[in-house]
């Protein structure tokens, strides 16, 4: 370890520029947790299966355990810590999870919240099938998925209500970045086969 080259990197995390000095093999998940002290991003399997470590990279959900921090030097990251408004008001997705009993121990929750935030940014009114596909890469071992699915539906409702009344809490930090490069996800009813 002592002889490993260290890299000075700069990430915009939840809107704030953060600097870190890391070896090339530092996973983004560990960089966030250890170097930047943002322990809201959870680490379960470290091989891409559980989804707990999901964060938004330039607005798109990715596995932080399958990304080297040096690889994303200069990019924007949104973590669970960045979903609520600066005054602490929960985002629509966070509120829906709380209201729908969509978490129990909370271990999987940061990954679900980031995944669902991006899902609804891209597709504000997903069908049940699209919800299932959207969260298929996140495992929950204790709450069960029924309430999580309800929470996604509820979050879509809450966001739509806010949009209508213009009461809009500040949109999650990722909205701008996620909105931009997306082609329409609504390509219709092509089957998965």
């Amino acid at each position: 370890m002592g002889t490993e080259t260290l890299y000075d990197i700069s990430l915009t995390v939840n809107g704030v520029v953060r600097e870190a000095r890391v070896p090339a093999r530092r996973l983004l998940s560990d960089c966030l947790r250890h170097d930047l002290g943002l322990t809201g991003t959870h680490v379960g399997c470290e091989h891409g299966v559980c989804g707990c470590c999901t964060v938004l990279l330039d607005g798109e959900p990715v596995r932080s355990c399958l990304t080297f921090a040096v690889s994303v030097d200069g990019h924007e990251i949104t973590t669970i810590e960045g979903l609520a408004a600066p005054d602490g008001t929960l985002s629509a997705v966070q509120r829906a999870f709380a209201e729908s009993h969509a978490l129990q121990c909370g271990f999987c929750t940061p990954g679900f919240l980031c995944t669902v935030t991006a899902l609804l940014n891209e597709n504000p009114a997903p069908s049940d099938e699209e919800i299932l596909e959207g969260i298929s890469g996140n495992l929950c071992r204790c709450t069960g998925y029924q309430n999580i699915i309800k929470a996604v539906r509820r979050a879509a409702e809450l966001s739509a209500e806010q949009e209508r009344d213009g009461t809009g809490e500040a949109a999650p930090a990722a909205t701008g970045a996620a909105g931009a490069p997306r082609a329409s996800g609504a390509t219709g009813g092509a089957t998965g086969e």
């Binding site: 470290e46 798109e60 080297f68 298929s136 997306r182 082609a183």
Partner: protein
């Protein structure tokens, strides 16, 4: 677990990448989306001494679709290719197959070319390339690029024709011929997992809606994608009869599945027959509505 240490290179141009790869030789590994390589490193099943990260080479982030087909650059993510309407129009099998590749979040980062080079026998995209007769373009420092046909590219499980020092710069998928349809059917234990077995199908009809060509590529049932031409079994039958017990039997005879913790060889063989019928039926249907 944590990945072992490595020397890191982040070139900004293809030329620079090729120089580093030439210098690194067998010690060098390309890092694309990292969705196969980083899990292997985290589990300490891979420990490349030198990693060449191509994520900053904007010139490789390309997808072009025209009447000849679809060319996918080495930095094009699964999700980008899946969403592209131009790609779906020229070669619909790509989107059909990509929807079976892992989960949406993995597809945001993983690359099409990375999946092909990785050559997992259960992966979808190598089968797509093999079925369509596509090619992979390989570059090396100080040498002309070479275009390797799929039939010569996949050599064994996780083994491709890519040599040390080479970079795969793109993959080419020929366009769908007129009067054709495609489909991808698979069965996995859980949605998004690698398939127990899967079949990609391509069916071409003549003006009377009779089958002229029918081919499948099977995954998870051999060291490389197993391409079976069943045109003879289907010869000039109407589109609606693309699937038949004879066709399923012909496909079952050609695959070489193995037992593992997930399924027995016999079960995989059985699934392949069932999936071949399903995929051919669907492809023929799409060809006739083309």
């Amino acid at each position: 677990m944590k990945p072992p240490p490595f020397d890191y290179h982040a070139p900004r141009t293809v030329g620079e990448a090729l120089e580093v790869l030439a210098d690194a030789g067998p010690e060098g590994k390309v890092l694309a989306g990292g969705q196969s390589l980083i899990p292997l490193m985290n589990m300490r099943l891979a420990a490349p001494a030198r990693l060449v990260d191509i994520n900053r080479i904007g010139a490789l982030d390309t997808v072009t679709a025209d009447a000849r087909g679809v060319r996918v650059g080495a930095l094009a993510r699964h999700a980008t290719v899946e969403r592209s309407a131009a790609v779906a129009e020229r070669q619909p099998l790509l989107r059909q197959a990509l929807r079976h590749v892992a989960h949406p979040v993995i597809r945001n980062r993983g690359t099409v070319v990375g999946s092909i080079v990785h050559a997992d026998p259960a992966a979808e995209l190598p089968a797509v390339l093999a079925l369509l007769g596509g090619t992979v373009r390989l570059a090396r420092h100080g040498a002309p690029e070479r275009e390797v046909p799929a039939a010569e590219f996949f050599l064994g499980p996780l083994e491709s024709a890519l040599q040390p020092g080479e970079l795969a710069v793109s993959a080419f998928f020929p366009a769908l011929p007129p009067g054709s349809g495609t489909a991808f059917c698979e069965i996995a234990r859980r949605h998004g997992d690698f398939a127990l077995a899967g079949v990609a199908a391509l069916v071409t009809l003549d003006d009377d809606l009779r089958i002229t060509t029918a081919k499948v590529a099977c995954i998870g049932v051999g060291p490389v994608p197993v391409v079976v031409d069943v045109s003879a079994e289907c010869a000039r039958r109407p589109a609606a009869s693309a699937a038949s017990p004879a066709v399923a039997a012909a496909v079952r005879d050609r695959v070489e599945p193995e037992d593992d913790i997930h399924a027995t060889a016999e079960y995989r063989r059985h699934l392949t027959g069932v999936l071949a019928e399903r995929a051919l039926r669907l492809a023929a249907e799409r060809a006739s509505h083309g």
